[in-house]
Protein backbone atom coordinates (compact mmCIF):
# COMPACT_ATOMS: atom_id res chain seq x y z
CA UNK A 1 0.00 0.00 0.00
CA UNK A 2 1.36 3.50 -0.92
CA UNK A 3 1.98 6.22 1.70
CA UNK A 4 -1.20 7.97 0.55
CA UNK A 5 -3.07 4.67 0.74
CA UNK A 6 -1.85 4.14 4.32
CA UNK A 7 -2.87 7.68 5.28
CA UNK A 8 -6.37 7.12 3.81
CA UNK A 9 -6.73 3.75 5.56
CA UNK A 10 -5.57 5.20 8.89
CA UNK A 11 -7.96 8.21 8.75
CA UNK A 12 -10.97 6.07 7.85
CA UNK A 13 -10.20 3.34 10.39
CA UNK A 14 -9.75 5.95 13.14
CA UNK A 15 -13.10 7.57 12.21
CA UNK A 16 -14.93 4.23 12.26
CA UNK A 17 -13.35 3.31 15.59
CA UNK A 18 -14.03 6.69 17.25
CA UNK A 19 -17.63 6.52 16.10
CA UNK A 20 -18.06 3.05 17.58
CA UNK A 21 -17.20 4.15 21.10
CA UNK A 22 -20.64 5.64 21.72
CA UNK A 23 -23.37 3.81 23.63
CA UNK A 24 -26.64 2.97 21.84
CA UNK A 25 -27.04 1.96 18.20
CA UNK A 26 -28.58 5.24 17.09
CA UNK A 27 -25.93 7.41 18.78
CA UNK A 28 -23.22 5.14 17.41
CA UNK A 29 -24.49 5.45 13.85
CA UNK A 30 -24.73 9.25 14.11
CA UNK A 31 -21.25 9.55 15.68
CA UNK A 32 -19.67 7.25 13.10
CA UNK A 33 -21.23 9.29 10.28
CA UNK A 34 -19.95 12.54 11.86
CA UNK A 35 -16.41 11.16 12.30
CA UNK A 36 -16.35 9.90 8.71
CA UNK A 37 -17.46 13.29 7.42
CA UNK A 38 -14.63 15.00 9.34
CA UNK A 39 -12.14 12.40 8.04
CA UNK A 40 -13.35 12.95 4.44
CA UNK A 41 -12.89 16.71 4.82
CA UNK A 42 -9.34 16.14 6.04
CA UNK A 43 -8.49 13.76 3.19
CA UNK A 44 -8.93 16.46 0.55
CA UNK A 45 -10.87 17.19 -2.65
CA UNK A 46 -11.27 13.62 -3.90
CA UNK A 47 -12.89 12.56 -0.65
CA UNK A 48 -14.99 15.71 -0.41
CA UNK A 49 -16.36 14.79 -3.82
CA UNK A 50 -16.71 11.15 -2.79
CA UNK A 51 -18.63 12.24 0.31
CA UNK A 52 -20.93 14.38 -1.83
CA UNK A 53 -21.62 11.38 -4.02
CA UNK A 54 -22.36 9.26 -0.92
CA UNK A 55 -24.87 11.94 0.08
CA UNK A 56 -26.93 11.20 -3.03
CA UNK A 57 -26.90 7.39 -2.60
CA UNK A 58 -29.38 6.55 0.18
CA UNK A 59 -30.00 3.29 -1.67
CA UNK A 60 -26.54 2.10 -0.59
CA UNK A 61 -25.61 3.90 2.62
CA UNK A 62 -27.46 4.37 5.87
CA UNK A 63 -29.55 7.55 6.20
CA UNK A 64 -27.32 8.95 8.98
CA UNK A 65 -24.24 8.87 6.74
CA UNK A 66 -26.15 10.19 3.72
CA UNK A 67 -27.49 13.24 5.57
CA UNK A 68 -24.17 13.88 7.36
CA UNK A 69 -22.18 13.87 4.10
CA UNK A 70 -24.52 16.53 2.79
CA UNK A 71 -22.79 18.96 5.17
CA UNK A 72 -19.42 18.64 3.40
CA UNK A 73 -18.22 22.03 2.23
CA UNK A 74 -16.67 21.85 -1.19
CA UNK A 75 -14.37 24.85 -0.91
CA UNK A 76 -10.64 24.73 -1.60
CA UNK A 77 -7.83 27.28 -2.04
CA UNK A 78 -8.11 28.97 -5.44
CA UNK A 79 -5.80 28.09 -8.30
CA UNK A 80 -3.30 30.70 -9.53
CA UNK A 81 -5.00 32.62 -12.31
CA UNK A 82 -2.20 31.70 -14.74
CA UNK A 83 -3.35 28.05 -14.55
CA UNK A 84 -6.96 29.09 -15.26
CA UNK A 85 -5.88 31.21 -18.23
CA UNK A 86 -3.89 28.28 -19.56
CA UNK A 87 -6.95 26.00 -19.52
CA UNK A 88 -9.04 28.64 -21.33
CA UNK A 89 -6.33 29.27 -23.93
CA UNK A 90 -5.93 25.54 -24.43
CA UNK A 91 -9.69 25.00 -25.00
CA UNK A 92 -10.21 28.02 -27.31
CA UNK A 93 -6.80 28.78 -28.78
CA UNK A 94 -7.02 32.37 -27.51
CA UNK A 95 -6.49 34.12 -24.15
CA UNK A 96 -9.52 35.26 -22.07
CA UNK A 97 -9.00 38.90 -23.16
CA UNK A 98 -9.74 37.94 -26.78
CA UNK A 99 -12.74 35.81 -25.88
CA UNK A 100 -14.52 38.14 -23.45
CA UNK A 101 -14.98 41.92 -23.16
CA UNK A 102 -13.52 41.58 -19.65
CA UNK A 103 -12.29 38.76 -17.43
CA UNK A 104 -11.74 38.97 -13.65
CA UNK A 105 -8.65 37.26 -12.26
CA UNK A 106 -10.06 36.89 -8.73
CA UNK A 107 -12.33 33.83 -8.62
CA UNK A 108 -15.92 34.02 -7.38
CA UNK A 109 -15.75 30.49 -5.95
CA UNK A 110 -13.25 27.67 -5.87
CA UNK A 111 -14.24 24.02 -5.42
CA UNK A 112 -12.51 20.65 -5.77
CA UNK A 113 -13.25 20.16 -9.47
CA UNK A 114 -13.65 23.68 -10.83
CA UNK A 115 -13.44 27.36 -10.05
CA UNK A 116 -15.60 30.22 -11.28
CA UNK A 117 -14.55 33.65 -12.63
CA UNK A 118 -16.60 36.64 -13.67
CA UNK A 119 -16.40 37.96 -17.23
CA UNK A 120 -18.51 40.00 -19.67
CA UNK A 121 -19.84 39.03 -23.10
CA UNK A 122 -17.90 40.58 -26.01
CA UNK A 123 -20.68 40.44 -28.62
CA UNK A 124 -24.41 39.77 -28.75
CA UNK A 125 -25.30 36.07 -28.49
CA UNK A 126 -28.51 34.17 -29.12
CA UNK A 127 -28.72 31.40 -26.48
CA UNK A 128 -30.59 28.12 -26.96
CA UNK A 129 -33.51 29.36 -24.82
CA UNK A 130 -34.97 32.86 -24.52
CA UNK A 131 -34.01 36.23 -25.98
CA UNK A 132 -30.53 37.29 -27.09
CA UNK A 133 -27.89 38.27 -24.55
CA UNK A 134 -26.54 41.74 -25.45
CA UNK A 135 -22.81 42.54 -25.54
CA UNK A 136 -21.65 43.41 -22.04
CA UNK A 137 -23.87 40.77 -20.32
CA UNK A 138 -22.18 39.62 -17.07
CA UNK A 139 -20.98 36.03 -17.33
CA UNK A 140 -19.84 33.23 -15.01
CA UNK A 141 -16.94 31.22 -16.44
CA UNK A 142 -16.49 27.84 -14.76
CA UNK A 143 -13.08 26.28 -15.39
CA UNK A 144 -12.09 22.70 -14.49
CA UNK A 145 -8.96 22.64 -12.30
CA UNK A 146 -6.10 21.22 -14.38
CA UNK A 147 -5.20 17.74 -13.23
CA UNK A 148 -8.22 17.46 -10.91
CA UNK A 149 -9.50 14.40 -12.76
CA UNK A 150 -6.18 12.53 -12.52
CA UNK A 151 -5.68 13.55 -8.87
CA UNK A 152 -9.10 12.21 -7.95
CA UNK A 153 -8.55 9.01 -9.91
CA UNK A 154 -5.16 8.56 -8.19
CA UNK A 155 -6.81 8.94 -4.77
CA UNK A 156 -9.52 6.46 -5.72
CA UNK A 157 -6.81 4.00 -6.84
CA UNK A 158 -4.99 4.53 -3.51
CA UNK A 159 -8.22 3.88 -1.59
CA UNK A 160 -9.01 0.69 -3.57
CA UNK A 161 -6.92 -1.81 -1.49
CA UNK A 162 -8.59 -0.49 1.69
CA UNK A 163 -12.04 -0.74 0.09
CA UNK A 164 -11.28 -4.30 -1.05
CA UNK A 165 -10.13 -5.34 2.42
CA UNK A 166 -13.09 -3.75 4.19
CA UNK A 167 -15.44 -5.03 1.49
CA UNK A 168 -14.48 -8.64 2.36
CA UNK A 169 -15.71 -8.15 5.94
CA UNK A 170 -19.13 -9.75 6.40
CA UNK A 171 -20.99 -6.64 7.54
CA UNK A 172 -19.74 -4.55 4.58
CA UNK A 173 -20.15 -7.28 1.95
CA UNK A 174 -23.49 -6.04 0.63
CA UNK A 175 -22.10 -2.55 -0.14
CA UNK A 176 -19.75 -3.82 -2.91
CA UNK A 177 -17.24 -1.08 -2.05
CA UNK A 178 -14.81 -1.64 -4.99
CA UNK A 179 -17.78 -1.51 -7.40
CA UNK A 180 -18.92 1.74 -5.82
CA UNK A 181 -15.44 3.24 -6.21
CA UNK A 182 -15.57 2.43 -9.94
CA UNK A 183 -18.99 4.03 -10.18
CA UNK A 184 -17.77 7.15 -8.36
CA UNK A 185 -14.77 7.38 -10.69
CA UNK A 186 -17.02 7.26 -13.75
CA UNK A 187 -19.42 9.88 -12.29
CA UNK A 188 -16.53 12.18 -11.47
CA UNK A 189 -15.07 11.84 -14.97
CA UNK A 190 -18.43 12.78 -16.48
CA UNK A 191 -18.62 15.78 -14.12
CA UNK A 192 -15.24 16.91 -15.47
CA UNK A 193 -16.75 17.27 -18.98
CA UNK A 194 -18.71 20.50 -18.62
CA UNK A 195 -20.50 20.17 -21.99
CA UNK A 196 -22.78 17.57 -20.43
CA UNK A 197 -23.74 19.94 -17.63
CA UNK A 198 -24.31 22.71 -20.20
CA UNK A 199 -26.82 20.55 -22.10
CA UNK A 200 -28.73 19.74 -18.89
CA UNK A 201 -28.77 23.45 -17.92
CA UNK A 202 -30.30 24.35 -21.30
CA UNK A 203 -32.91 21.62 -20.89
CA UNK A 204 -33.92 22.99 -17.49
CA UNK A 205 -34.02 26.54 -18.87
CA UNK A 206 -36.36 25.26 -21.61
CA UNK A 207 -38.55 23.25 -19.20
CA UNK A 208 -39.12 26.32 -17.01
CA UNK A 209 -39.27 28.93 -19.80
CA UNK A 210 -42.84 29.89 -18.85
CA UNK A 211 -42.27 30.02 -15.10
CA UNK A 212 -41.86 33.66 -13.99
CA UNK A 213 -40.46 32.62 -10.59
CA UNK A 214 -37.71 30.34 -11.92
CA UNK A 215 -34.47 31.17 -13.65
CA UNK A 216 -31.68 29.00 -15.04
CA UNK A 217 -28.49 30.69 -16.30
CA UNK A 218 -28.27 30.23 -20.07
CA UNK A 219 -25.20 28.78 -21.74
CA UNK A 220 -22.91 30.74 -24.07
CA UNK A 221 -21.93 27.82 -26.31
CA UNK A 222 -19.14 29.46 -28.36
CA UNK A 223 -17.31 29.97 -25.04
CA UNK A 224 -18.05 26.48 -23.71
CA UNK A 225 -15.85 23.41 -24.10
CA UNK A 226 -14.91 20.24 -22.27
CA UNK A 227 -13.19 22.14 -19.45
CA UNK A 228 -14.87 25.57 -19.64
CA UNK A 229 -18.56 26.36 -19.11
CA UNK A 230 -19.73 29.92 -19.74
CA UNK A 231 -23.20 31.01 -18.67
CA UNK A 232 -24.93 34.29 -17.98
CA UNK A 233 -24.17 35.51 -14.46
CA UNK A 234 -27.18 35.78 -12.18
CA UNK A 235 -27.04 38.20 -9.26
CA UNK A 236 -28.50 36.82 -6.06
CA UNK A 237 -28.06 35.51 -2.58
CA UNK A 238 -27.24 32.02 -1.46
CA UNK A 239 -29.71 30.49 0.96
CA UNK A 240 -27.25 31.12 3.80
CA UNK A 241 -27.47 34.85 3.02
CA UNK A 242 -31.24 35.01 3.05
CA UNK A 243 -31.36 37.51 5.89
CA UNK A 244 -30.20 40.07 3.38
CA UNK A 245 -32.77 38.94 0.85
CA UNK A 246 -35.62 39.38 3.34
CA UNK A 247 -34.39 42.90 4.12
CA UNK A 248 -34.69 43.68 0.42
CA UNK A 249 -38.30 42.60 0.16
CA UNK A 250 -37.94 39.01 -1.12
CA UNK A 251 -41.06 37.04 -0.18
CA UNK A 252 -39.73 33.82 1.40
CA UNK A 253 -43.14 32.19 1.76
CA UNK A 254 -44.08 32.48 -1.92
CA UNK A 255 -40.63 31.29 -2.99
CA UNK A 256 -40.69 28.35 -0.55
CA UNK A 257 -44.10 27.17 -1.76
CA UNK A 258 -43.13 27.68 -5.36
CA UNK A 259 -39.78 25.92 -4.83
CA UNK A 260 -41.61 22.82 -3.56
CA UNK A 261 -44.03 22.91 -6.51
CA UNK A 262 -41.17 23.37 -8.99
CA UNK A 263 -39.53 20.23 -7.65
CA UNK A 264 -42.77 18.24 -7.84
CA UNK A 265 -43.20 19.44 -11.41
CA UNK A 266 -39.71 18.18 -12.29
CA UNK A 267 -40.36 14.75 -10.78
CA UNK A 268 -44.02 14.22 -11.63
CA UNK A 269 -44.51 16.06 -14.94
CA UNK A 270 -41.22 16.62 -16.72
CA UNK A 271 -39.49 13.39 -15.67
CA UNK A 272 -36.13 15.11 -15.06
CA UNK A 273 -35.04 16.44 -11.70
CA UNK A 274 -32.08 18.23 -10.15
CA UNK A 275 -30.74 15.54 -7.81
CA UNK A 276 -27.97 17.55 -6.20
CA UNK A 277 -29.87 20.37 -4.57
CA UNK A 278 -28.09 21.95 -1.65
CA UNK A 279 -27.84 25.53 -0.41
CA UNK A 280 -24.79 26.27 -2.60
CA UNK A 281 -26.70 25.27 -5.76
CA UNK A 282 -29.62 27.62 -5.20
CA UNK A 283 -29.83 31.37 -5.39
CA UNK A 284 -32.59 33.83 -4.71
CA UNK A 285 -32.50 36.83 -7.05
CA UNK A 286 -33.32 40.43 -6.08
CA UNK A 287 -36.51 40.19 -8.21
CA UNK A 288 -37.69 37.23 -6.06
CA UNK A 289 -36.90 34.36 -8.36
CA UNK A 290 -35.31 30.99 -7.62
CA UNK A 291 -32.14 30.35 -9.58
CA UNK A 292 -30.94 26.75 -10.07
CA UNK A 293 -27.21 26.17 -10.56
CA UNK A 294 -24.91 23.19 -11.08
CA UNK A 295 -26.52 20.39 -13.05
CA UNK A 296 -23.84 17.77 -12.47
CA UNK A 297 -26.22 15.17 -10.95
CA UNK A 298 -29.75 14.75 -12.29
CA UNK A 299 -32.36 12.01 -11.97
CA UNK A 300 -35.04 10.85 -14.41
CA UNK A 301 -38.49 9.30 -14.03
CA UNK A 302 -40.53 7.37 -16.63
CA UNK A 303 -44.29 8.07 -17.12
CA UNK A 304 -45.19 4.85 -15.22
CA UNK A 305 -42.84 5.77 -12.39
CA UNK A 306 -44.36 9.26 -12.19
CA UNK A 307 -47.82 7.86 -11.49
CA UNK A 308 -46.45 5.43 -8.91
CA UNK A 309 -44.46 8.27 -7.28
CA UNK A 310 -47.59 10.44 -7.15
CA UNK A 311 -49.45 7.54 -5.53
CA UNK A 312 -46.67 6.99 -2.97
CA UNK A 313 -46.53 10.71 -2.28
CA UNK A 314 -50.29 11.02 -1.87
CA UNK A 315 -50.41 7.90 0.34
CA UNK A 316 -47.60 9.30 2.47
CA UNK A 317 -49.11 12.73 2.96
CA UNK A 318 -52.50 11.16 3.69
CA UNK A 319 -50.87 8.69 6.13
CA UNK A 320 -51.81 5.48 4.25
CA UNK A 321 -48.95 2.99 4.86
CA UNK A 322 -50.61 0.16 2.89
CA UNK A 323 -51.00 2.20 -0.24
CA UNK A 324 -47.52 3.74 0.09
CA UNK A 325 -45.92 0.27 0.19
CA UNK A 326 -48.15 -1.06 -2.62
CA UNK A 327 -47.03 1.66 -5.03
CA UNK A 328 -43.44 1.58 -3.72
CA UNK A 329 -43.35 -2.00 -5.02
CA UNK A 330 -44.16 -0.64 -8.51
CA UNK A 331 -41.03 1.52 -8.14
CA UNK A 332 -38.90 -1.51 -7.35
CA UNK A 333 -38.95 -1.31 -3.54
CA UNK A 334 -40.29 -4.78 -2.88
CA UNK A 335 -40.82 -5.91 0.70
CA UNK A 336 -40.73 -9.73 0.90
CA UNK A 337 -44.11 -11.16 1.87
CA UNK A 338 -42.98 -12.56 5.23
CA UNK A 339 -41.72 -9.10 6.26
CA UNK A 340 -44.78 -7.16 5.10
CA UNK A 341 -46.81 -7.11 8.36
CA UNK A 342 -43.77 -5.93 10.35
CA UNK A 343 -42.67 -3.30 7.81
CA UNK A 344 -46.23 -2.05 7.29
CA UNK A 345 -46.69 -1.69 11.05
CA UNK A 346 -43.41 0.17 11.46
CA UNK A 347 -44.07 2.51 8.53
CA UNK A 348 -47.60 3.21 9.80
CA UNK A 349 -46.26 4.01 13.26
CA UNK A 350 -43.55 6.24 11.73
CA UNK A 351 -46.17 8.09 9.64
CA UNK A 352 -48.30 8.68 12.70
CA UNK A 353 -45.30 9.96 14.66
CA UNK A 354 -43.79 12.24 12.01
CA UNK A 355 -46.52 13.24 9.57
CA UNK A 356 -49.92 13.16 11.26
CA UNK A 357 -49.73 16.48 13.11
CA UNK A 358 -48.19 19.77 12.08
CA UNK A 359 -45.37 20.69 12.01
CA UNK A 360 -44.79 17.60 9.89
CA UNK A 361 -41.26 16.23 9.86
CA UNK A 362 -40.51 15.01 6.32
CA UNK A 363 -36.82 14.60 7.07
CA UNK A 364 -37.60 12.52 10.18
CA UNK A 365 -39.98 10.39 8.13
CA UNK A 366 -37.47 9.85 5.31
CA UNK A 367 -34.62 8.97 7.68
CA UNK A 368 -36.90 6.59 9.62
CA UNK A 369 -38.27 5.02 6.42
CA UNK A 370 -34.81 4.36 4.98
CA UNK A 371 -33.68 3.01 8.37
CA UNK A 372 -36.64 0.56 8.46
CA UNK A 373 -35.74 -0.67 4.95
CA UNK A 374 -32.05 -0.87 5.87
CA UNK A 375 -32.76 -2.87 9.06
CA UNK A 376 -35.12 -5.22 7.19
CA UNK A 377 -32.42 -5.57 4.46
CA UNK A 378 -34.92 -4.49 1.82
CA UNK A 379 -33.10 -3.25 -1.27
CA UNK A 380 -33.91 0.40 -2.08
CA UNK A 381 -33.65 1.10 -5.85
CA UNK A 382 -31.19 3.86 -6.82
CA UNK A 383 -33.86 6.19 -8.23
CA UNK A 384 -36.15 5.69 -5.24
CA UNK A 385 -33.40 6.57 -2.77
CA UNK A 386 -32.35 9.60 -4.81
CA UNK A 387 -35.92 10.83 -4.85
CA UNK A 388 -36.45 10.44 -1.11
CA UNK A 389 -33.21 12.27 -0.50
CA UNK A 390 -34.12 15.04 -2.96
CA UNK A 391 -37.52 15.49 -1.30
CA UNK A 392 -35.85 15.94 2.08
CA UNK A 393 -33.45 18.47 0.59
CA UNK A 394 -36.34 20.36 -0.98
CA UNK A 395 -38.00 20.54 2.42
CA UNK A 396 -34.74 21.82 3.94
CA UNK A 397 -34.40 24.46 1.23
CA UNK A 398 -38.06 25.49 1.55
CA UNK A 399 -37.64 25.79 5.32
CA UNK A 400 -34.55 27.96 4.83
CA UNK A 401 -36.74 30.27 2.75
CA UNK A 402 -39.76 30.14 5.07
CA UNK A 403 -39.35 28.18 8.33
CA UNK A 404 -43.10 27.61 8.87
CA UNK A 405 -43.69 25.89 5.51
CA UNK A 406 -45.27 22.42 5.47
CA UNK A 407 -44.29 20.90 2.13
CA UNK A 408 -46.77 18.04 2.54
CA UNK A 409 -49.50 20.69 2.21
CA UNK A 410 -47.91 21.86 -1.06
CA UNK A 411 -47.62 18.23 -2.24
CA UNK A 412 -51.23 17.26 -1.43
CA UNK A 413 -53.08 19.17 -4.18
CA UNK A 414 -50.32 18.46 -6.70
CA UNK A 415 -50.29 14.70 -6.21
CA UNK A 416 -54.10 14.55 -6.00
CA UNK A 417 -54.51 16.50 -9.26
CA UNK A 418 -52.01 14.28 -11.03
CA UNK A 419 -53.71 11.10 -9.87
CA UNK A 420 -57.15 12.48 -10.86
CA UNK A 421 -55.80 13.40 -14.32
CA UNK A 422 -54.36 9.91 -14.67
CA UNK A 423 -57.63 8.28 -13.62
CA UNK A 424 -59.58 10.33 -16.17
CA UNK A 425 -57.10 9.70 -18.98
CA UNK A 426 -59.06 8.33 -21.99
CA UNK A 427 -56.74 5.33 -22.33
CA UNK A 428 -57.24 4.37 -18.71
CA UNK A 429 -60.99 4.98 -18.90
CA UNK A 430 -61.19 2.78 -21.98
CA UNK A 431 -59.18 0.14 -20.18
CA UNK A 432 -61.29 0.30 -17.02
CA UNK A 433 -64.75 0.94 -18.58
CA UNK A 434 -65.71 -2.67 -19.41
CA UNK A 435 -64.94 -3.98 -15.93
CA UNK A 436 -66.63 -0.93 -14.33
CA UNK A 437 -69.71 -1.52 -16.50
CA UNK A 438 -69.79 -5.21 -15.56
CA UNK A 439 -69.51 -4.28 -11.88
CA UNK A 440 -72.32 -1.72 -12.23
CA UNK A 441 -74.62 -4.22 -13.97
CA UNK A 442 -73.82 -6.83 -11.31
CA UNK A 443 -74.71 -4.24 -8.66
CA UNK A 444 -77.97 -3.31 -10.44
CA UNK A 445 -78.88 -6.96 -10.94
CA UNK A 446 -78.61 -7.39 -7.18
Amino acid sequence: MSARGRSIAWSLARALLAGSLHAGAEARRAARARELRVAFEGLGPAFVKLGQLISVRPDVFGPELVFEMEKLQDSVAPLPVSAVREVIADDFGRPPEELFASFEDTPLASASIAQVHRATLAEEYRPVVGPSLPAGTPLAVKVVRPGSESLILADIAAARPFAERVGRMRRFERYNLPGLLDEFASTLCSECDLRREARVADRFAFDFRDDPLMIVPRVVWPRTGRRVLTTEFIEGWRLSELGRAAERGVNGRILAEHGATVFLRQVLELGRFHADLHPANLFVTPDSRICYLDFGITGTTSPEQRIAIAQVLAATVYGDADRALKYSAELGLVVPEHLQPRVRGEVGELMARTLSVPPRDVRGFATGFLRIMNDAQVEVPVGYGLLVKALVTVEGVARALYPEIDITEAAKPYATRLIARWMLHPARLAQRAPSAMRAAIRELAG
Binding site: D91, R94, V128, V129, D202, F206, W221, G225, G446
Partner: protein, 114 residues
Amino acid sequence: MAGNEEFMRFMAAWALVHETADEGWKAAVERGGTQATGEMGTGPEAFVDGLSAMIAEEKERLKAELASGTVAAPGEEAGLKEVLEELRFEIAELRGRVEAMQSSLDALAARERG
Protein backbone atom coordinates in the same frame (compact mmCIF):
# COMPACT_ATOMS: atom_id res chain seq x y z
CA MET B 1 -86.22 -13.83 -9.83
CA ALA B 2 -87.93 -10.70 -8.54
CA GLY B 3 -84.55 -8.95 -8.72
CA ASN B 4 -84.14 -9.98 -12.37
CA GLU B 5 -87.59 -8.69 -13.29
CA GLU B 6 -86.89 -5.35 -11.65
CA PHE B 7 -83.66 -5.08 -13.55
CA MET B 8 -85.35 -5.86 -16.90
CA ARG B 9 -88.02 -3.25 -16.11
CA PHE B 10 -85.37 -0.68 -15.31
CA MET B 11 -83.50 -1.35 -18.55
CA ALA B 12 -86.79 -1.18 -20.51
CA ALA B 13 -87.57 2.22 -18.94
CA TRP B 14 -84.08 3.38 -19.84
CA ALA B 15 -84.51 2.26 -23.48
CA LEU B 16 -87.94 3.94 -23.64
CA VAL B 17 -86.53 7.29 -22.44
CA HIS B 18 -83.89 7.10 -25.17
CA GLU B 19 -86.41 6.19 -27.87
CA THR B 20 -88.74 9.05 -26.90
CA ALA B 21 -85.87 11.51 -26.71
CA ASP B 22 -84.60 10.35 -30.09
CA GLU B 23 -88.01 10.81 -31.72
CA GLY B 24 -88.35 14.24 -30.09
CA TRP B 25 -84.88 15.17 -31.29
CA LYS B 26 -85.58 14.09 -34.90
CA ALA B 27 -88.84 16.05 -34.95
CA ALA B 28 -87.11 19.17 -33.56
CA VAL B 29 -84.37 18.91 -36.20
CA GLU B 30 -86.98 18.59 -38.94
CA ARG B 31 -88.95 21.61 -37.71
CA GLY B 32 -85.77 23.67 -37.24
CA GLY B 33 -84.57 22.74 -40.72
CA THR B 34 -87.64 24.38 -42.32
CA GLN B 35 -87.33 27.61 -40.28
CA ALA B 36 -86.78 30.88 -42.12
CA THR B 37 -84.00 33.33 -41.12
CA GLY B 38 -84.85 35.18 -37.89
CA GLU B 39 -87.55 32.71 -36.94
CA MET B 40 -85.41 31.33 -34.07
CA GLY B 41 -86.03 34.47 -32.05
CA THR B 42 -89.81 34.08 -32.05
CA GLY B 43 -90.02 31.93 -28.90
CA PRO B 44 -88.28 29.27 -26.77
CA GLU B 45 -89.65 26.34 -28.76
CA ALA B 46 -88.56 27.83 -32.07
CA PHE B 47 -85.17 28.51 -30.54
CA VAL B 48 -84.78 24.87 -29.42
CA ASP B 49 -85.85 23.65 -32.88
CA GLY B 50 -83.39 25.97 -34.62
CA LEU B 51 -80.55 25.05 -32.30
CA SER B 52 -81.31 21.33 -32.82
CA ALA B 53 -81.09 21.80 -36.58
CA MET B 54 -77.75 23.65 -36.25
CA ILE B 55 -76.37 20.91 -33.97
CA ALA B 56 -77.54 18.28 -36.47
CA GLU B 57 -75.70 20.13 -39.27
CA GLU B 58 -72.56 20.26 -37.12
CA LYS B 59 -72.97 16.57 -36.41
CA GLU B 60 -73.09 15.81 -40.15
CA ARG B 61 -69.94 17.89 -40.70
CA LEU B 62 -68.17 16.02 -37.87
CA LYS B 63 -69.30 12.73 -39.42
CA ALA B 64 -67.83 13.74 -42.77
CA GLU B 65 -64.57 14.87 -41.14
CA LEU B 66 -64.30 11.61 -39.22
CA ALA B 67 -64.92 9.65 -42.41
CA SER B 68 -62.22 11.60 -44.31
CA GLY B 69 -59.79 11.44 -41.36
CA THR B 70 -59.29 15.22 -41.18
CA VAL B 71 -60.85 15.73 -37.77
CA ALA B 72 -58.75 17.48 -35.11
CA ALA B 73 -59.01 15.85 -31.69
CA PRO B 74 -59.58 18.18 -28.74
CA GLY B 75 -56.28 19.56 -27.47
CA GLU B 76 -54.52 18.66 -30.71
CA GLU B 77 -53.61 22.29 -31.43
CA ALA B 78 -52.01 22.68 -28.01
CA GLY B 79 -50.17 19.40 -28.57
CA LEU B 80 -48.91 20.62 -31.93
CA LYS B 81 -47.63 23.84 -30.37
CA GLU B 82 -45.76 21.80 -27.80
CA VAL B 83 -44.20 19.57 -30.45
CA LEU B 84 -43.14 22.66 -32.45
CA GLU B 85 -41.54 24.25 -29.39
CA GLU B 86 -39.75 21.01 -28.59
CA LEU B 87 -38.42 20.81 -32.16
CA ARG B 88 -37.28 24.43 -32.06
CA PHE B 89 -35.46 23.68 -28.82
CA GLU B 90 -33.77 20.62 -30.29
CA ILE B 91 -32.59 22.63 -33.31
CA ALA B 92 -31.32 25.44 -31.06
CA GLU B 93 -29.58 22.84 -28.90
CA LEU B 94 -27.88 21.40 -31.99
CA ARG B 95 -26.81 24.92 -33.01
CA GLY B 96 -25.26 25.36 -29.54
CA ARG B 97 -23.32 22.14 -29.87
CA VAL B 98 -22.12 23.07 -33.35
CA GLU B 99 -20.95 26.45 -31.98
CA ALA B 100 -18.99 24.70 -29.23
CA MET B 101 -17.46 22.32 -31.79
CA GLN B 102 -16.53 25.25 -34.01
CA SER B 103 -14.71 26.84 -31.05
CA SER B 104 -12.80 23.62 -30.43
CA LEU B 105 -11.87 23.44 -34.13
CA ASP B 106 -10.68 27.07 -34.08
CA ALA B 107 -8.54 26.24 -31.03
CA LEU B 108 -6.98 23.27 -32.81
CA ALA B 109 -6.35 25.34 -35.95
CA ALA B 110 -4.72 28.10 -33.85
CA ARG B 111 -2.50 25.52 -32.16
CA GLU B 112 -1.48 24.11 -35.55
CA ARG B 113 -0.63 27.58 -36.85
CA GLY B 114 1.28 28.70 -33.88
